[in-house]
């Protein structure tokens, strides 16, 4: 897992429209600038918002990536719930403090 670099990529995309445009034009080149596992690249490429959440991506970063990928708010929330059902509890990061499933 290289959760740090997944989040760093999303941080850069969220705050820099030029990098965001470059990413959606040529994702593979941008992926090459970060230390990512194959699973992470696949989750980012699809995108699989649910898997990214389960990997531990901070939702303050993930929300913006979902939005720029075309998700509206209900779709984004549902994607995370589906991710927990499909992949299990959050593996690391802020939301892994309890059972990894959030507060409910």
């Amino acid at each position: 897992m290289s959760l740090y670099y997944v989040q760093k990529l999303l941080y850069h995309l969220n705050r820099d429209p030029v990098q965001q445009q470059h990413f959606f034009e040529d994702r593979d080149t941008v992926f090459g600038h970060y230390t990512l596992t194959e699973e992470e690249v696949d989750a980012l490429r699809k995108p699989d918002i649910g898997l990214l959440y389960v990997m531990g991506v901070n939702a303050q970063l993930l929300m913006h990536y979902a939005t720029m990928s075309g998700y509206d708010w209900p779709q984004y929330i549902q994607a995370m719930r589906d991710g927990i059902d499909q992949y299990g509890p959050v593996r690391e990061g802020l939301y892994a403090m309890q059972d990894g499933k959030g507060a409910i």
């Binding site: 740090y4 989040q7 760093k8 941080y11 969220n14 705050r15 959440y53 901070n58 939702a59 303050q60 970063l61 993930l62 929300m63 913006h64 939005t67 984004y76 929330i77 995370m80 719930r81 927990i84 802020l94 939301y95 403090m97 309890q98 499933k101 959030g102 507060a103 409910i104």
Partner: protein
């Protein structure tokens, strides 16, 4: 001059992005409370607002995350979010780098802080400013406390930062308002978004307005996360303002859970300048 007004307010982006979806009466009461706080700041003659918030990865990341940071830019810019989503137009926001420098130098006498000469405001600053200085007429000194990524500083350091800010503000000739933003229960952007722990929020707010230092510093991150969600780590900002205004009992100007805004919205007045100090 000194501190002329202090308070806290909510900063949920939904207050502007999903504004009209709330119960109309609750929204009207919330906006009236925001306006009361705006008026209090203006009536106090504030020449600058020191705004203590917790940004959400707009400027700071885990490659070099500052525990505390104070802006020292010539001007600021915001919101960083899509303005069509947040429904707040992007603009430059006035600063006062000379005042920033003096405050930072004074704060550093007791608390280590980073400084930032570039700062893009996210909703944590932009939503409160939209209501408290809608014409952006008052220079802003932004202060950030890391509440997003662990490790986070213990609450007694937020208390120490509040004391240091108060001493620095009192050493400046300008009339200064101090505002903290965020901090009640919320589970932002997660599958639990919209969940609110009203009882936990009301207990916290009672401790804040009564400046119960021991009770406030007794909150642990584990308890806070369990009862208030990841967003409640932002209690660091309101603890900071409570410390800075310890000598006065505060007032609750608004406190109601608004689920579509995903949190208990609150407007607290924590310090008003005593009449004998008014000029």
């Amino acid at each position: 001059m000194s501190l002329v007004y202090a308070g806290t307010c909510c900063h949920s982006p939904a207050i502007t992005s999903r504004g009209e979806m709330a119960d109309p009466q609750l929204r009207r009461q919330l906006l009236e409370a925001f306006d009361r706080q705006r008026q209090a700041i203006e009536d106090a003659g504030a020449e600058a607002i020191v705004m203590v918030s917790s940004e959400h990865f707009a400027n700071f990341f885990m490659d070099n995350m500052p525990t505390f940071s104070i802006g020292i830019a010539d001007e600021y810019y915001g919101p960083i979010e899509d303005p069509n989503w947040l429904k707040i137009p992007r603009t430059t926001i006035p600063a006062n780098p000379d005042l920033s420098l003096r405050l930072i130098n004074q704060v550093m006498q007791s608390v280590d802080v980073c400084f930032a000469q570039e700062w893009k405001f996210d909703h944590g600053m932009s939503v409160p400013l939209h209501f408290l200085t809608p014409q952006y007429k008052i220079p802003i000194i932004p202060v950030n406390i890391n509440c997003q990524s662990k490790p986070m500083s213990p609450l007694h350091r937020s208390w120490a930062l509040g004391l240091a800010l108060r001493e620095a503000i009192n050493s400046a000739p300008e009339k200064i308002a101090l505002i903290g933003t965020g901090g009640t229960s919320h589970w932002p952007c997660t599958p639990d978004s919209g969940k609110i722990n009203e009882a936990w929020d009301r207990t916290l707010i009672d401790h804040l307005i009564n400046k119960r230092k021991d009770a406030l510093l007794a909150y642990t991150d584990e308890d806070t996360y369990r009862e208030g969600g990841g967003g409640a780590f932002e209690i660091r900002t309101s603890v900071c303002i409570a410390a800075a205004t310890e000598e006065q009992t505060g007032e609750v100007w608004f406190c109601e859970p608004i689920p579509i805004y995903a949190t208990t919205c609150s407007i607290l007045s924590l310090y008003q300048q005593p009449l004998d100090l008014l000029t």
